[in-house]
Assembly symmetry: C2
Homo-oligomer: 195 residues x 2
């Protein structure tokens, strides 16, 4: 629903009915009204819900307005790219630390964000209250790194590498999104189509 509100705001629309939201999202309008009720003030106007109000209510209720702390694991191409950007690269999270097992990378990387060797993961996460780890590069010791993240009290891991991570702990949310393989897959498709 939040994505839809963003899209409508982009298109300069100002209000929408629960029927129209339901139609766009493929959900019954009764459920839409229930969800909007959960958001607190409904922000209704004569011709439907006010889009800006609905969007800001979602932001408040789900904590989108609050910036949480995240760290980057792996300071190779993708990791450095994210660390070096001045603006916020991801919604809801600020990058406050970077880690790599390779000491050379720590010494040569140019960034204003502090970087640490991976054996310091646990202490830095606790000290800086880091809630999310974004893993951008395969690492030989990825299982050990994941252990350290969990021991440090990490709440979530978004893993962009081809290695599939999992945890038995319900308190840690792990999401595997294999970006590198997506690009290789597309390249392989193009190659095989041209043969």
């Amino acid at each position: 629903m939040y994505n839809l509100m963003e899209e409508l705001e982009e298109k300069r629309e100002s209000s929408i009915s629960s029927q129209d939201i339901g139609k766009r999202l493929g959900v019954g309008s009764h459920n839409i009204r229930k969800d909007i009720g959960f958001l607190g003030e409904t922000g209704t106007s004569g011709s439907g819900y006010e889009i800006a109000k609905l969007k800001s209510n979602i932001e408040k209720k789900l904590g989108f307005a609050r910036q949480r702390s995240a760290c980057i694991i792996g300071l190779g191409s993708l990791g450095s790219v994210i660390m070096n950007y001045q603006d916020l690269p991801f919604p809801c999270f600020s990058i406050v630390a970077g880690f790599d097992s390779n000491i050379n990378k720590l010494e040569t990387i140019q960034t204003t964000i502090p970087v640490y060797p991976t054996y310091e993961i646990q202490s830095v996460i606790q000290r800086d209250n880091i809630e999310l780890a974004v893993i951008t590069e395969p690492d030989r010791n990825i299982e050990k790194i994941t252990e350290r993240l969990i021991e440090g009290g990490i709440k979530g891991i978004i893993n962009f590498t081809p290695v599939i991570l999992s945890s038995d702990l319900e308190s840690v949310y792990i999401r595997n999104i294999d970006i590198m393989t997506e690009f290789r897959y597309v390249s392989a498709l193009f190659t095989l189509h041209n043969q």
Copy 2:
């Protein structure tokens, strides 16, 4: 299989049997031998397949060694981050052009890669033989942009925005990977868990 070979090479292993590959990938060793047969020279040694050879055969057969041209659509935070990195941000593809509908962004972005307004998509893609478009930012005119990409002869689109794109053309591969929503989802989870 390629990911497994990369992982084993990271771990300094030198060879592996078809049984072991099958076990790791959850596939019968007969199918593994068939796939490896398709790769041309099998690269067998006494104690199994040579990992380095297998990896390079996959690279050759699937065209991983060849660099294809890609462009970035949307020069906001994620798009600029990718454009500004010196190394290759993605396997198999070089970024050769950037596009944005906002002329101000085109004028202010600092990058060595040429940038163009989105109405030039079709001609630039044809001229520079661009095969893949990476969409990094929602755009009010995303449907129009997609049309222009397809008219320009694009072969694939990787879409990192929340808008879901699709095409009736079998010749165009479209992959929707909604990164922004992943981060918002994690943030919402953390918020709701703490209530």
